[in-house]
Subunit: 207 residues, 2 copies
Amino acid sequence: MSPPRTQPEDRRPPPARRPGGRTARVRAQVLDAVRAELGEHGFDGLTMDAVAVRAGVHRATVYRRWGDVGGLLADVLDAAGDDDWRPPDTGSLERDLAGLNQEIQDAMAARPPIMAALIAASFRSERAAAAQRRLWEDRYARCEIVVERAVARGELPPGVDARRLLITATAPLYHRLVLLGTPPDPDLPGDAARTAVLAASAGAFTP
Amino acid sequence: MSPPRTQPEDRRPPPARRPGGRTARVRAQVLDAVRAELGEHGFDGLTMDAVAVRAGVHRATVYRRWGDVGGLLADVLDAAGDDDWRPPDTGSLERDLAGLNQEIQDAMAARPPIMAALIAASFRSERAAAAQRRLWEDRYARCEIVVERAVARGELPPGVDARRLLITATAPLYHRLVLLGTPPDPDLPGDAARTAVLAASAGAFTP
């Protein structure tokens, strides 16, 4: 859901400029290294030692603070949710949902495939899986305003189950791209958005 | 999509009664062992040696024929598609789709969690992932008759994109149960079926 900030930073500011002091600086360096290693090598190539070397941080610090690779991934996912992302606000429910779906498809197709690698990694580590679910929960919660605005504009009746509508709009993207492994389809974001809006207009998400 | 025959066989017939001679018998014993090991230990506990021991087959045979754990999983998935499964035929599109979704939810909730473990394993092995996609493709192809029958009954206009309708009906199940990790919801199979039918009736899958 939405491209969380999981891209490696191309122009990483010098560590000294990281806000929050040494602890925050070390965390930022380590998480940047995790994203870069994950993008280059995937989960199977991700090791605590490689992350420590790439981050320029003592191995002992990485082990003590993150425990294992699952802990590193969980922290990357938690950090991804620590942003000010907001869903599209185009004045139309269908366009908002299509824009949201386009962001999902773009994030899944991005190279290096950080988002895809994080989702795959969540099948390897219970800590990463829990963090991935927290991130999705947060993203869906932030997206509910898309539905609330549509109700306020009179596009939908009050009482619409926003979460079910949002899942209906986005699930085909995740199902096709993550599970079925179909290549990105330029029509898919808009088609799935339109389908959800038609279903909503027909009363699918109203008690 | 649908519960493929991935359950370990509780009352396995004696090997000598397996049809197809020794090669088929060995395959059946090995795949039963893979399902049982996967159900008990998940992917991380699945080893070639444990499968060989459990199946009562020489290690060398297992390595020669399946190569690695990914090869074993791919063959389990290919074997799952080698059945005569057909989607529900209730006389109503919505009930057919709800029944299909119920089968998916039941399979995902089954204990031991063979289907869930196979999906998770498809993130670990490219061979397993390709086999999982073949199985889904086969299942969705078999389900298209559900839509064709609805068109024949006059429930839907001709020209409906059956695959898009089927993905819309089933994707929320996979998204919630596999990715979002929400517990099975007794309303979900029917709600997702109804949503897809309402969208179809509103023209979502017609050019």
